[in-house]
Symmetry: C2
Subunit: 326 residues, 2 copies
Amino acid sequence: MIVSDRQTLAEDVRAGKRRALAKAITLVESTRADHREQARALVEALLPDTGKALRVGLSGVPGVGKSTFVEALGLYLIEQGHRVAVLAVDPSSSVHGGSILGDKTRMELLSRRTEAFIRPSPSSGALGGVAHRTREAMLVCEAAGFDVVLVETVGVGQSEIAVAGMTDIFCLLQLPNAGDDLQGMKKGIVEIADLVAINKADIDKAATHRAQAQMQGAISMVRHAHPDWTPPVIPVSALKAEGIDVFWNTVLKFRETMVANGAFAARRRRQAGAWMWELIDHDLRARFRANVRVAEELPGLQAEVEQGQVTPAAAAARLLGHLDNI
Amino acid sequence: MIVSDRQTLAEDVRAGKRRALAKAITLVESTRADHREQARALVEALLPDTGKALRVGLSGVPGVGKSTFVEALGLYLIEQGHRVAVLAVDPSSSVHGGSILGDKTRMELLSRRTEAFIRPSPSSGALGGVAHRTREAMLVCEAAGFDVVLVETVGVGQSEIAVAGMTDIFCLLQLPNAGDDLQGMKKGIVEIADLVAINKADIDKAATHRAQAQMQGAISMVRHAHPDWTPPVIPVSALKAEGIDVFWNTVLKFRETMVANGAFAARRRRQAGAWMWELIDHDLRARFRANVRVAEELPGLQAEVEQGQVTPAAAAARLLGHLDNI
């Protein structure tokens, strides 16, 4: 892509042209080196128009009704005059080649609206790469005028941490039949949730109430990142579009509280800085691994370290000794 | 130190000579470059004699009675025929220059025993460096024949993660007056605890019972790393030396379970590999920061990234562009 094309693309994205938006996101999702370079320049050009959306992270295990919830929330937000982009970070897509490609068909009503833009997870790459591309896609959507960006993920692996690390508020979707382990809730997830919604609350009110109390108890056990905020647990029914307004008003209340105490801006600053360091660390490690002698010795040395035959310090020193300078 | 001196030191450590042990640990704790090099060689020489101890991590906030607990446990273990080394990772020591230097005087009975060796936290450096030196000190103690190594930390910052990352079992010490937030328990700590002890259980049995139930409830909310293990909550009184035997038998039960399912060996392999990569990443970043042009541009660029004026990708690319090769 030559520079003038890129300028046109940036202009068309800013004008909210749908085809340009899709093209731009395809560009930021590409793993080709020349595309990566173009994507970086494009996002750089769009940067002044980014940052104005409310970035909402959403996680829930398969079966929790996430697509239905996102559709209900999206339609509600459009009613309120918003433009909504839905992005995804799906760690399993790196294995399955895009396991939630079906999102658009599952969110049939939402995907037909011009005020909405739904994009499944980039279909290949390690989580770090997928997360990076989703972050860039988020900026593109903001430049295109979407003022709410929902970033969803399935409750597997490290993807929640990645999503919480790129959004202003991280919401957890749960089911009423919590059981002992809250649907096998993963390590540290309670701690990073700013808000919990219990979906399918219409089916069994007593179970919902129990799950709500149990969840609220779990939340009270751990200190939230902000002393001003105890994450609320909100019953919703995405299918019946019940409780969506309460959910959204709580999201807004969170934003209001965090803007007032300065945590909102601080979180964004921290995220941007951390993102830069992630990219630097990733590149440094790639350069390290690309060193011919490191590449030769690393597998054997790592195995010896793991077997306790070489100390980690000695192995690190030997490998690093192969680097000339940096 | 010349090579023959180092060989003598290694031999004396292996022979369990106390002065050699203290000298060796002073060496691994030193931040001087020539000492670091000697320490690496010493630990490498001792490596075949390491790995045989049970490595027990222990965390608890100030006031929980950690020193009293460690003393009671240490004396109990000596009675059982063990030799016990007590090390510490204290993140605050990097600020205060060794805030738990008083440990030895607080553990008066234990410190007088020849079967025990107590070493406070290295007194300076960032947590990563302190943790690294404690890991090396642990190996030195193992080579000196200590078959139980207790690594303690205060419940602040990232130090628990560091201690859990260098031990076979991570234990959390709590008080009965749990209150709503379990003494302000930090993010993710419930998740990494393999075992919880409620100290001062003799003072108020009803409160202890409530805290036990509350803690067990919190534990049941999160999935432990091993499906074979639900972390037990054990009431103890360190002051009266009550429950120490139950505590230790539970530690042994954990080891037995994890050895049987292979998780014990896997945890050590993972820890060794992660340690090597930590050292590599740390060095790569240090080389990066040492680049003259990077050092010049980094502060300004990082600020621009945090203000949203430059994208993280563009900043990372510009900084990395200053490196010739690696």
